[in-house]
Symmetry: C2
């Protein structure tokens, strides 16, 4: 990937932070997070390494901010609609989730790998996103306060949805995939407590 | 974890390889694979760094061998029985899979993280194990040569089984978890082709 340095421009602190995070998200596509070089990020941004550390005190602070930003984007694409049947509401979030992953497959995989890379804070952000998504799907299907088994099952179903969205051939339509997933979710979330 | 050096003993090349792989599997529990230090492995084995490289020419060769060995163990615990109904056969492998993960959760997670860590050969080994497991489950439920959607669904289901085995509280019995999973597998693998 060619990433040419930006010309030096005056930015507010917020703009600069957003710019640096955006660069990290793009670079992550081509390498695992522990190989993401701060020097390269600074160079692409057209700023000094020292200035980058002014915005993000440590390399890990920077990584965590990048992963958090990606998680926020995903959550922004999977908001729970207020109205509709369980199936309709689940469909809207499932479609947001699957579409998000399919459109940004390389980037999504890079971030999942980042989360698996052994950094506890990065892992924590990933788990938070997972938990929020699980809550939204439970809410959608009318089980906002489920037993432990139902929560676990919906969490498992989310892993299934992720795997299928990542592995699906381009020929398979997102609509068919979402239809299949929502059908399975409705069954999975309806299991009675076993004790 | 305290890992005291073994006394220097004469071993055959095969014994030595197995010993070194075993040490790697134990050390992986406490750190991601890219932080696994060759020096530490050699020290625990009571051999020189040079001798370790005699058995595994590069650090990556060693990592790949460790991950492959873990994958072989998992496959050894999930062999497909020859006889039985679809449900019974699926149950045997699902039980092997879930039990294996629950017994070695930290180790299993470390290996999944290793596979996600961005090393292509390690990733390849992980994908091979996934594919073999998917084939076994498809065979178990009588769909050895399925359409693309069924294969994708069973692959997704495997990700669900993994996630649930990793996340399940100790209170949830493996039997209940396996019952739930096999029921869902039978539904998931039965979907008609949509085109």
């Amino acid at each position: 990937m060619s990433a040419s340095p930006s010309p030096r421009v005056r930015m507010t602190a917020d703009e600069r932070r957003r710019q640096l995070i955006g660069i990290g998200l793009r670079l992550l596509v081509t390498r695992p997070i522990h190989e993401l070089a701060i020097d390269e990020v600074a160079e692409v941004a057209g700023i000094s390494r020292g200035l980058l550390f002014h915005y993000f005190p440590t390399k890990r602070d920077y990584y965590v901010a990048v992963v958090r930003s990606a998680g926020d984007r995903l959550l922004g694409h999977t908001e729970l609609p207020e109205d509709g049947s369980a199936e309709e509401r689940a469909r809207v979030i499932a479609d947001g989730f699957v579409s998000f992953i399919r459109r940004r497959k390389a980037n999504y995989l890079a971030l999942v790998r980042a989360a698996s890379g052994g950094d506890d804070r990065v892992m924590e952000v990933y788990q938070e996103v997972r938990t929020t998504l699980t809550d939204r799907f439970l809410d959608a299907v009318g089980r906002p306060d489920p037993d432990a088994m139902t929560r676990l099952a919906v969490r498992g179903w989310l892993a299934m949805a992720e795997e299928m969205a990542v592995e699906a051939d381009a020929e398979l339509s997102t609509e068919d995939l979402v239809t299949f997933l929502v059908e399975d979710l409705l069954r999975v979330a309806a299991i009675p407590v076993t004790d």
